[in-house]
Structures are given as C-alpha cells and as structure tokens.
C-alpha cells in the first residue's frame, strides 16, 4: 500500500512525460511535488516500518534520507520551471528529462528504502542509468562525451558495488542462507560471519565502487566534468539525491563492516578520504568556474560525511549530509543565474542584482556560500565540530594517537585551503568585476527559499534530537 503511494507520483510523471501538451509541464511539476506527501506520511509511522516484507523497510535513517531527497527533488522541480530562461532547452528534452527523472526517482525509492543489498543495488543501477540520459538532455558534444564517460565509469562503479555485494553475500551465506542479503540480519550476525576476510574484500570492492561514484580519488574531475557539461539542475540532482543513495549504501555496509573489523575499515576509509580531500582541496584552489567549484566541494563534503560516519558519529554525518544535500543543490541551481555572463566569470557574479528578487537572491546565495564552508550558524559548523570530535576521540583510543591527531590537523589545514578559496571567491563575486544587471526568476528563487527553510528546519531541536536517535 505504502509502496504504491510512494511510486504512484513517479509512475504518473513517467506517463505524463509522453504527452505533447504544453501544459504537461505543470502536470509534471505537480506530480513531482506530490512525491513529498507519502514520504511525510511515512515519516510519521513507527519505525521500523515494513513496506514490502523484509525487502523494503523504512527505518529512521532511510526516511530521513528520503525526506531530504524529496525536498531536493521539489527544489529542483521549482528551478526547472525557469531553466529555459537561462539555457536553451527544447520542450522535448524537457519532457524527456522528466521521464528519466521519474525512473530515477523509482530507482531511488528502492535503493534508499531497501533492507536488501540486491534491491539496493538494482535501485542504484536504475538511478545511475537514468541519469546518463539526463546528462544527455543537454545537446552539446561535451555533454554527449560526458554521458558516455558517465555511462562507462558509472557502470564499472556500479558493477564493482554488485561484485562487493555478492562477495559479502557469499561470506555470510553459510550462516544466513538466502537471507544473507538483508542488512539488518547481516548487522545482527556480523560477528558470526565465518570468513571475515571475504567479507572485507567484498566491502573494499563495494566501497571503491561507491567512492568512484561519489567522485573520490582518483575520479575527482570525472564528476566535476560531468556536472559541468550537463544542465545545472542535473548537477543539483547528482549532488543532492544520487549521492545520497550511494552514501546510504555506504552507511549500511560500513555499519556491518564496523562490526566485522573496525580497525581495518577505519584505516582504509581514513586514508582514502584524506587522500581525496588532499586532491580536491588543491583542485578547488585552482577552480575557475562555479560548476567545477561546487562539484569539487561536493566531493569534499561527501568525503567528510563518510569520515564522520566511520569515526563513530552518525549524528555528525547525518547532519552534515542533510546540510550538504540542501546547500549544494541550492548553489548548483543558482549557478544558472550566476553564470549569466559566462561560465568563467566569477568576479562580480554577485553584483548587479536589483529589485526585491535580486536582493533576496543575493542574500540567499551569500548565505549558502558562507554556509558551505561551515561558518556558523550553518548546520555544517556543528556537524564538523561533532564529526571531528568523534575523529579525535577515535584517535585517542587508537595506538597511533599522535599520528592520527596529526592527520586530523592535516585534514583541517586542507579544509582551510578550501575555506580560503571560497572566501576569496565570495569576495571577488561580491566586490570585484563589473556589476551587470541580471534577472532572477521566481522559480529558482522559490527553490532557494525552500532550501533555506529546510536548512533552518535542520537546526531545530526536534530535528537534532531525531538525528541523534537515528542509530
């Protein structure tokens, strides 16, 4: 029943996208808005709530992720209204975009709500494949090339995840049988897995797949280039939703892996993420356009989320996750306006906004830009505090305390480089270059306001309490 409710809007959207009517646009948007209601409904149920036997189970973690994703989806829909004012897009491409968005959404619901590694993977693959075509909606050679690039690398990454899943399944099958695919059972019996090494190998392969998909080292520019060449709402979907689906997979797998062997997992992820942030921070230092800047920063934040999670602070990871999921799409959506004067013109991008709309836009974008580098009162400020706190705590308990504290310090210095770059970009956007008048449309403005409100909602005591009790 619940599943039907969840899927109906998406299916409806899929069907409507074949209509050649002018007004289909509004119908599509409407169906996109409706997505939120069943999720809010789901949110109120007692957890865990079985949606489809043991296959789809809604617990606190995945409803949160799903809720965040659906808000992002709505924001993106809002911004889509006025996308054609900033870029040239044909109505056909527009409908096609929605068609694949619907598939994407179905895939997402499955992968996020799944309690089953296999279903998780199927959903993820579906979402991945549908995004390939979303990239392609932009009819440029670059987009075409990147769509192929995404197709191949994304497919490799997803295959790696499946490979890992099968290995993990194989490692647990002797004790759990066919049910070894279920996250909750695996977690419960993690300590009894007869071949932990097999599990760890599987986990490592799956993790590499997920990290590749999130654009970690060595794929840093891969994701950035893809987001650069596609339409900006696609980038928003990537950073806001698709990566959520990947990261929730990581959460679930690593939860089990933590039970199996925490030390190995931690060191592996720690080194990997630091390496990623090292590369990303220096790439950000040289970034010259918004899309690349934001997508690189997205990689950085994903790495931080992962790191916070494995350091034993799910609260920090989830808070950071939520904040990032709202902030990054907001920024991506505003690039449509910011890049009015050309892609590589950062200086002065925040000047020349007049009128009420312009002022609000200016204010919100400034706010988002400063929030993304975790200045208070951004939720990221708190999540980083808690996350690094957890990291230090882990360090204190380990045998290599000084080395780890040193590594954390190194990490913070790398983040400072990013901070510096963002501050410098913000200043140059605000105070350098020439002020040219540009237009802000209601669609993107409403999207930004939605994200801002969601960010505030994230900081409410109730939300924080909810996040603290997720795990």
């Amino acid at each position: 029943m619940m599943l039907t409710l969840l899927l109906t809007p998406a299916l409806f959207m899929f069907l409507v996208s074949f209509l050649r009517n002018e007004n289909a646009k509004y119908l599509l948007a409407l169906s996109s808005f409706v997505i939120l209601f069943p999720i809010v409904d789901l949110f109120t149920f007692v957890k865990p709530y079985a949606i489809l036997g043991t296959y789809l189970v809604a617990d606190k973690l995945d409803t949160y992720v799903l809720l965040v994703s659906s808000i992002v989806g709505i924001g993106v829909t809002l911004a889509l209204f006025t996308m054609d004012k900033h870029v040239t897009v044909s109505p056909k491409a527009y409908r096609k975009f929605y068609r694949f968005f619907a598939i994407f959404w179905i895939g997402l619901i499955f992968s996020i709500l799944s309690n089953h590694m296999g279903i998780y993977w199927i959903g993820l693959e579906l979402a991945t494949l549908s995004t390939v075509y979303m990239i392609k909606t932009n009819h440029t050679p670059a987009a075409h090339k990147e769509a192929w690039n995404y197709m191949i690398v994304g497919a490799i990454a997803v295959s790696l995840i499946l490979f890992g899943i099968i290995l993990m399944y194989a490692s647990a099958k002797p004790i759990l049988g066919e049910e070894a695919m279920q996250f909750d059972l695996l977690l419960k019996h993690a300590k009894e897995i007869p071949s932990p090494f097999l599990f760890e190998i599987g986990f490592a392969i799956a993790t590499i797949g997920m990290f590749v998909k999130m654009g970690f080292f060595p794929m840093n520019l891969w994701l950035a280039n893809i987001e650069r060449s596609s339409f900006y709402p696609v980038a928003a979907l990537f950073s806001g939703i698709l990566e959520s689906a990947v990261v929730i997979g990581f959460f679930r797998f690593s939860q089990i892996a933590m039970e199996v062997n925490y030390n190995n997992l931690f060191i592996f992820v720690f080194i990997y993420t630091i390496l990623t942030i090292f590369i990303v921070s220096f790439l950000i230092y040289r970034a010259k356009d918004f899309m690349r800047l934001f997508s690189l920063s997205g990689i950085e934040h994903m790495a931080l989320i992962v790191l916070f999670w494995v350091s034993g602070s799910p609260f920090a990871a989830l808070l950071h996750f939520g904040a990032h999921a709202f902030l990054k799409p907001a920024l991506f959506l505003s690039t449509g306006v910011l890049e009015t004067n050309g892609k590589f013109k950062m200086a002065g991008a925040l000047r020349g906004y007049t009128g009420k709309r312009g002022k609000i836009f200016l204010f919100l974008v400034s706010l988002f830009l400063l929030a993304i580098i975790s200045l208070p009162p951004s939720p990221m400020f708190f999540s980083e505090l808690y996350g690094f706190g957890a990291m230090i705590n882990t360090a204190k308990g380990s045998d290599h305390m000084l080395g780890m504290i040193g590594a954390v310090l190194f990490l913070l210095i790398l983040l400072s480089i990013i901070f510096y770059r963002f501050v410098s970009i913000y200043q140059s956007m605000r105070y350098e270059g020439e002020a040219r008048s540009r237009k802000v449309y209601a669609g993107e403005l409403f999207a930004l306001i939605l994200f801002a409100v969601s960010l505030v909602a994230l900081m409410l005591p109730n939300t924080l309490h909810y996040l603290k009790t997720v795990i």
Binding site: I152, V153, N264, F282, R286, F388, S416
Partner: protein
C-alpha cells in the same frame, strides 16, 4: 550554556566599556558609511558575539560565538571596499582567523572527549589524562594568539584593522584582541592547570618578540591605522609578557607574585582597550575629515580639530607609558613583577629569558615614545601637508562625545586605579589565587607597592598632583610676570615656512629605518629631476620607501608559494587522469585489495615489496602509458 563568574563579568565589563563610547562614535561616523544597514547589522552582531564568547560555558557555544565574531568582523572589514587591498586584507584576515580556529577546535575536541557540551571545569580531568599536555598548550596558544596577533601570527593585523571602518577597527583592536586573551586566561586556568615551566618561558619569549616586532613595524608605518594596529601587536606582546611572568611565578610557587603579574596583565588589557580604542577613534576622525590614511598628508590638524588632537595626545601619552598615566602604571607593574624574578635560582632558561624580556620591554617603551611622537606630531602639528588636511574641520558632536567618553574612561583608570585593581584582584581570587589587594595598598590607596622582594612603590595620585601643581605654578608665574609676546613666522633659514619644508613622517623614521634596515629591508624609490646633468643639483625629487614585513615574506609568501606549487601538480595530475578512468580504477582496486591482503591478513615485507613493484608497473603501463 552560559557562565557569569567574575572572570566573565570582568570581560563583559571590558567589552561594554569599550563598546559604549564606540557606539556613540559609530553613530556619528555613520553618515560617512555608504552601506549603513550592512554595517550596523554586522557591528551589533560583532559586539554581541564578543559578549557571547566571554560568557559561554562550553566549547560548543564558545566556538560558535568565536566564529560569529570572526565572521562579523570579516564582514565589517568589507564594509567599504576601496580597491584590491581591502579585499586582500579581508581575505587574509579571515584565513588567519580560521587558521586559529582550527587549532582552537582541535584543542577543544581533545579536551572535551567528543562531548562538546561539557563545562570547562570538567575538561581539566580529561586534559590531565591526555598524554601530551604540551601539545594541548600549543594548540591553545596557536588558536588564541593568532587572533590576538602574537608573532609570528600577527601579519594580518596591520592589513585588517586599517581596512575596517574606524569604529570597527577600534573595536577590533581595542576589544576583540582582548577576547582572545580572555580565552587564554579562561582555558589556562580552568583546563590546563598546572603549567610546566616551559609554557611560561615560551609565552614570555613570544611576548617579548611580539612587543619588539610590533613596535618596530609601527615605527616604520605611514598608514596611521596600520601604525596603530602594529602598536596593538606590541601591546599584546606586553600583556603576554606579564601573563607569562604570572605563569612562571605560579610554577615556581610564588603565589602573590603570580597574582601580581596576572593583575598587571589584566590591568594592561583594560588600559590598552581604552587608549587603543581612543586612538583608533581619533585616527578615524582624522580620516573622516581628510579622507586619507596616509600620515604624510596630515599636519596642522590641532588647530582645526582641537578636541580630537587633545584626546589623541592624551591617549598617546598613556600608550607610551608616561607617568602618571594608567599605561605607565600597568607597565610599571609588569616591570616590577619581572624584578621579582631576581631570586629565582634554579632554571637557566629563565635566567636567560627574563633579562631578554626586560630588554624587549624597555626597548619597546623607548620605541613607543618615538612612534607616538611621530603619530601625533606629524598628524596634528606643524602645517597642513595637503589640501585635504587644510580643509578639515572638527568632527560632529557624537563622534566627539565618543572620544571624550573614552578619554574619561582612560582618566578613570588613571585616577581610580585602586578601584579597578581590586576588581581585577577579585578575578584571580575567584580563580583560586591569593588576594594581593591588601599587599598592593598596605597604607592607603595613595601608594601602590610592588610585591617583589624589596620592590618599588609608585603613587600615581601624588605624581599626578605634583606634576599638575608644578606645571600650574610655572604657568602662574608666566602669567604673573606678564611676558611680552610677539607673533611671527617660524624661522626657516630666511626662506618662507611652507608645508613642504617640514619634516615628513618618512624622514622622521628615517634614522630608525636605517638602523633597523636588516629587519625592514626597505625598498626605496628615488626619482630626481636633475639640472643639466648635475648629480647634486635637482629641481624636483621624490623619495618613497616601502617596508615589506619580514615575517610575511619569509613565512607567508613561502607557504603561499608551496600551496601554489602543490596545486599546480595536483591540477596537472587531475587533468592528466581524465582519459584513463578505467585504468585508474583498475590500479586502485588492485592496490586496495593487495593492501587489505597484506595489512589485514598476514604482514610481511616481501609482499610489500612485490606489491610496490606491481603497483609501479601497473601505473606505468596502464596509467602513464607510452610516450607519444
């Protein structure tokens, strides 16, 4: 969440005392500012965040307000953007303050065991269990002193403070730096107690260097606000010296001397807040009227802006520690506390560092006089050096009120020093130290005794009274004798006295610059219009000199260059990898699985060697490929 103990309240008082005149001044200054709403929003946020910092009771709240403080002050700097330099200054400031924040955060994360809502008192237990307390100390001082502006983390100050609107720079220099010192007081007492001797010595040396470096650069500065900012660095150094002496005495189990030094530090904190705020306000008024910060463009302002000039003079006297001002009193206390070290017998590092600190402090006060003679003299005396200065008029009533209030505050510190000292004494009593008030004033409030063995005595009021009396008598005599007076031009070797025959600021500090050229490394530009090819005859000449701060060149530029180089290579790597994603995944997978196999299963060196050979091969063949 919040704490209101004596220490906090003293700093709340400090902030309020600093903000109130500033607020009035700021209101008067407002017409000068274009983005009024923006400015006021951040101005009040700034004050509120400083208050928040000093009353916060746990790490989370502290860090929160700390960052808000940085954020709002950064935005304040950006209130009036006049070209690249402001932008650069603001960026640099924010980077430095974030740099400090990183260390502060690490400090808190280590001492709070992940529970950021822990109160400071409970942190002590965790801190004492931590294996490397010195690491904590260094994190703490790196975090706080980068905000306070101690060497070598001071470089941002002379850029950031001048760039902000004057009321804001007065607040930043006068109050914000002290908030950082509040952190030092709070966490050294509450969290990191007891202190090894090395900490005190380290801080002492940092303080000495800071004071020297600060004043030397202040001397060479032409931008009046940068000069004041550099002088702030110097004063922070002085406060740190006193603070360090307190720590050293505490370690050596000399409780009274320790409290004496701490009280001296706190006293100087209050003093510096007063006079530096006032000086910045004065500089702001001058700036407001002349629209330039270049000290060479001022001159003769005392006749057009008498109130500003006299309060500036008063503050300058105080900051140069001339008796009987409050600046003198606190510096006197600091000297006295160092004198108390004469009976330390055991530690050689102390025996070497304390004389050095004394030397630094003495040198500093000498140079401070020169600096402020220059600042006051060139700005307010002589003839106007530019048309802007010529047309300057006295500032409006609100600004004057702000400055006069601030001057009154300084005067109160001078006249009612015992009252303030009792207040400061209470702070340290509340922190569990011995009270020294009774020992400071054993026979009435007229005479203040030093607590060192055979220490000196000072009596500010008597000194003040006698100076006033003697001067008054002399003036009276002058009146009574009814001296004949005549007015005529200044003698200038028979030429007309003109603005351009005066000594310039560059000229004033010329001797210093030459003497300290090893530090200043001045870059001189001389342009001469020679007459008929004669070397020595010229119709027109201009001489400009620019000083590049040594630390900036050696530390910051090299860090910047390093970042640049690394980023270049990473960028190349990043762009190189683009076409070979599958190969990279392949190699990565190989590497991770291999490492898992080796490190997670059985470890042996041979396999590591084999792995590395394999990885090198794989990278070479698959990723780098053949050269075309």
């Amino acid at each position: 969440m919040f704490i209101f103990d004596t220490l906090s309240l003293v700093f709340v008082a400090l902030i309020l005392l600093g903000s109130l005149p500033n607020l009035i001044y700021s209101t008067g200054y407002l017409p000068h500012i274009e983005r009024k709403g923006y400015y006021q929003l951040h101005y009040f946020a700034f004050i509120a965040s400083m208050l928040g910092v000093v009353v916060s009771a746990n790490a989370l709240v502290f860090l929160f307000f700390w960052e808000i403080m940085s954020l709002s002050s950064w935005k304040l700097i950006l209130t009036e953007v006049e070209g690249k330099s402001t932008i650069k200054a603001a960026r640099f400031y924010f980077l430095m303050t974030h740099f400090g924040f990183v260390f502060l955060m690490l400090f808190f994360l280590i001492v709070s065991d992940g529970n950021l809502e822990l109160d400071f008192g409970s942190m002590q237990l965790i801190a004492s269990k931590f294996a490397y307390p010195s690491l904590l100390f260094f994190f703490l001082i790196l975090g706080l002193l980068s905000k306070a502006g101690a060497v070598p983390l001071h470089v941002w100050l002379p850029y950031a403070h001048p760039a902000a609107p004057s009321p804001a720079s007065a607040l930043m220099s006068g109050v914000m730096l002290k908030v950082a010192l509040y952190g030092l007081l709070r966490f050294l007492f509450d969290v990191l107690y007891p202190w090894p001797l090395e900490w005190g010595t380290t801080l002492l040396i940092i303080g000495s260097l800071t004071s020297l470096v600060g004043i030397l650069y202040a001397m060479g500065e032409h931008d009046i606000k940068a000069l004041l900012a550099n002088s702030s660095i110097e004063n922070i150094g002085i406060i740190l010296i006193a603070f360090a002496m307190g720590m050293i005495f505490d370690t050596l189990k000399l409780p009274y001397l320790s409290t004496f030094s701490f009280v001296a530090a706190l006293f100087h904190i209050f003093n510096h807040m007063g006079f530096k705020s006032l000086l910045f306000m004065g500089a702001g008024s001058v700036l407001h009227q002349t629209h330039t910060k270049n000290i060479e463009k001022f001159g003769g302002l005392i006749s057009s802006m008498p109130v500003t000039a006299f309060v500036f003079l008063f503050a300058a006297m105080s900051i140069t520690a001339l008796p009987p001002t409050n600046g003198f009193l606190s510096e006197w206390m600091i000297f006295q506390s160092m004198l108390g070290s004469s009976h330390i017998t055991d530690d050689i590092s102390l025996k070497l560092s304390i004389p050095f600190a004394i030397f630094a402090l003495a040198m500093t006060s000498g140079l401070a006089i020169a600096t402020f003679v220059k600042a006051f003299g060139i700005t307010f005396l002589g003839l106007h050096r530019s048309t802007n200065a010529k047309h300057a008029t006295e500032v409006n009533f609100l600004m004057k009120t702000g400055m006069v209030l601030s001057a009154l505050y300084i005067a109160s510190l001078m006249l009612f020093a015992p009252f303030y000292l009792r207040f400061f004494d209470d702070v340290f009593v509340s922190l569990g130290r011995s009270s020294i008030y009774a020992k400071l004033f054993p026979d009435g409030i007229l005479q203040m005794h030093s607590l060192s063995v055979h220490g000196g005595i000072v009596s500010p009021l008597i000194l003040f009274g006698s100076l006033v009396l003697v001067t008054g008598l002399l003036l009276l005599a002058y009146r009574v004798f009814d001296v004949k007076e005549r007015f005529y031009h200044t003698w200038a070797c028979g030429y007309r006295t003109a603005p351009n025959t005066q000594y310039t600021s560059t000229g004033f500090s010329g001797i210093m610059r030459r003497f300290f050229s090893w530090l200043y490394k001045p870059q001189e530009h001389i342009v001469k219009e020679t007459l008929a090819g004669h070397e020595t005859k010229f119709s027109d000449a201009s001489y400009t000199v620019h000083i590049k701060p040594l630390f900036e060149v050696s530390l910051y530029e090299s860090a910047k260059r390093l970042t640049y180089i690394i980023s270049y290579w990473v960028y190349r790597l990043g762009h190189f990898e683009q076409t070979r994603y599958p190969a990279m995944i392949f190699t990565l997978l190989l590497f991770v699985l291999f490492s898992y196999r080796i490190f997670a299963d059985d470890f042996s060196w041979q396999t590591i060697i084999i792995e590395s050979i394999m990885m090198i091969m794989s990278v070479k063949i698959l990723i780098i490929g053949e050269k075309k």
